[in-house]
Symmetry: C2
């Protein structure tokens, strides 16, 4: 019942295990006839090499691990899609580890991958650099994605400042003067940078527009709640600048419920360009998330195979104007 091992094949083909290994791995110093006998024996027994044993002796897994906080939400799904695409293309396996709220759990997850993977891709936007460096296994190469980096490590980051600046300037250019930013969760690096860029861009390009920010957490309900609260308070608003697309969608729902016309009375913008955004006509900045993931894999595997390559690589998002903000009516 148990699967055939290399020794079974050796016995069947009447050679040693060494020859079987050499024959099946395409080494050159095997007599053609011997190789044929081995191949035939392997086929007859339905032999499949045991990847675990192979990894142990080669000290190489041909697998990479992905640690991420939450598979929920299209943003992470997209990144994982890109990671998967590139991993498969390069003949590696992908080990997924998900939902690690706090640093201790994340460390746990990363440790449990030792001996299973050759390298890690870590997404932990909510972890501070110290905790992260503590948690990262010493011997394992890692690429950080959207994560405050400890400096020297390989990392991929979204240029949040550039993205937010294009959004705010677009809104100002189309005549909006009462902008409100719905921020992401405190402690999240992307949220923090977007928030700072919102403030900075207004200060630079429209010093007379007040900086108004309400708190959110990247989830749809938060966008809806924050927007409803704004409307209830009767505050003047002509543009809602959400820190991500999901909150922007929540905002759109709240505005619709309140009978506010988008984009006529209020413009809405998001961040990320998740697939949903296209369907909902949401103006946003496009972060090519799948490419971000794919690029992280490419760099990681490059490093595994000996490339010298460190430091942060930024991807610059691009403004996508859709129907939740009008393109005309400059100030």
């Amino acid at each position: 019942m148990a699967s055939a091992t290399i020794r079974d094949v050796a016995r069947q083909a009447d050679v040693s295990v060494a020859s079987v290994s050499r024959a099946l791995n395409g080494h050159s110093n095997v007599h053609p006839e011997t190789r044929a006998r081995v191949v035939e024996a392997a086929k007859a027994l339905g032999y499949v090499p045991h990847a675990g044993a192979r990894s142990l002796s080669l000290a190489r897994n041909h697998a990479i691990g992905v640690v991420l906080p939450d598979l929920h939400g299209e943003f992470f799904s997209e990144i994982v899609r890109g990671i998967d695409r590139e991993t498969t293309a390069r003949g590696y396996h992908l080990l997924l580890s998900n939902m690690h709220a706090d640093a201790e759990l994340a460390a746990q997850a990363m440790r449990s991958m030792r001996g299973r993977v050759d390298g890690l891709i870590v997404m932990a936007p909510q972890l501070d650099p110290a905790a992260l460096n503590e948690a990262l296994p010493k011997g394992t190469p890692a690429v950080l994605v959207n994560t405050s980096d400890g400096g020297e490590r390989q990392a991929m980051r979204v240029d949040n400042r550039a993205g937010m600046e294009t959004i705010v300037r677009h809104l100002l250019f189309t005549g909006r003067r009462s902008l409100v930013h719905i921020a992401g969760p405190a402690g999240n690096i992307d949220a923090r940078e977007r928030r700072e860029a919102f403030t900075a861009t207004l200060a630079e390009h429209a010093p007379n527009v007040p900086v108004r920010i309400v708190e959110g957490n990247f989830r749809e309900e938060a966008g809806a709640r924050a927007t409803a609260a704004l409307l209830d308070a009767g505050e003047p608003v002509d543009a809602i600048v959400a820190a991500n697309d999901m909150m922007a969608l929540g905002a759109m729902n709240a505005l619709k419920d309140a009978g506010v016309v988008v984009p006529g009375e209020v413009a809405v913008t998001g961040f990320d360009d998740i697939p949903l955004a296209r369907y909902m006509g949401l103006t946003t900045v496009q972060v090519r998330s799948a490419d971000l993931g794919a690029r992280a894999v490419a760099r990681l595997i490059g490093a595994l195979e000996g490339a010298r390559d460190a430091g942060v690589e930024f991807v610059t998002p691009e403004l996508i104007v859709r129907s939740t903000s009008d393109r005309q009516s400059a100030a």
Copy 2:
């Protein structure tokens, strides 16, 4: 530089490797003081057990593999999300293997997981049972999801007939009389069942309504193209019954482009209830995809841990009426 091994820990604590193993795995016959010395030594060296070596000697990986045809599309994303949730909750690891168009590649992928995983979850709706049984590794337990099964295997299936029947009856009940089905790709088991159920339901409940079917492939563009072609041909249509949500969305776009009012002139329905469907107000049947994946994992791990459990388990989808079909105006 290389990570510490159990022998390093043994030397450091001045005991044998057996005691280290016993101490760290919580066996009972270890003197408390010895255990303390071992734990301290392990911490001092930053020792992390090598999962690969552990798996080899235990013949147990605590990991399951997922083979699926295409991570693209929200339907599969949802299933993977559910799989991941349950896998993590039970303390297992998840190995992902994606995009296997033909039987040979799929077999390849499954083979390459031997020695890495304890069991498999296989989604291959496009494979015929013979090829599948050929490809499935002999020794490895597997749960099939939305896949023509070879009979005795564990499997999860969507009750496509029941789902399609509720949709067609809903449309008939709300007065539609010119239904067109946009079918999924030939060879896909779900597509075939939905198509057959469309035909059967009309034959049973509205024998005078002609059965009209156009070909599609589950992709958005196919839905759009098929719909545009129907409109161009000037055929009478008051309901488009797509075989999945993505094609329904394509149909909606084509209708909008043509200035046809939904649901006033034409109703549109989908199948799956992907997250997008809620945003787009699409009437569909809800397949709790995430739960489907989670349930598959639960059964697989159950079987790994000795449970006797075989055969097909169906999940019954539920009709969700939204704004692309009206709920009033019975015939």
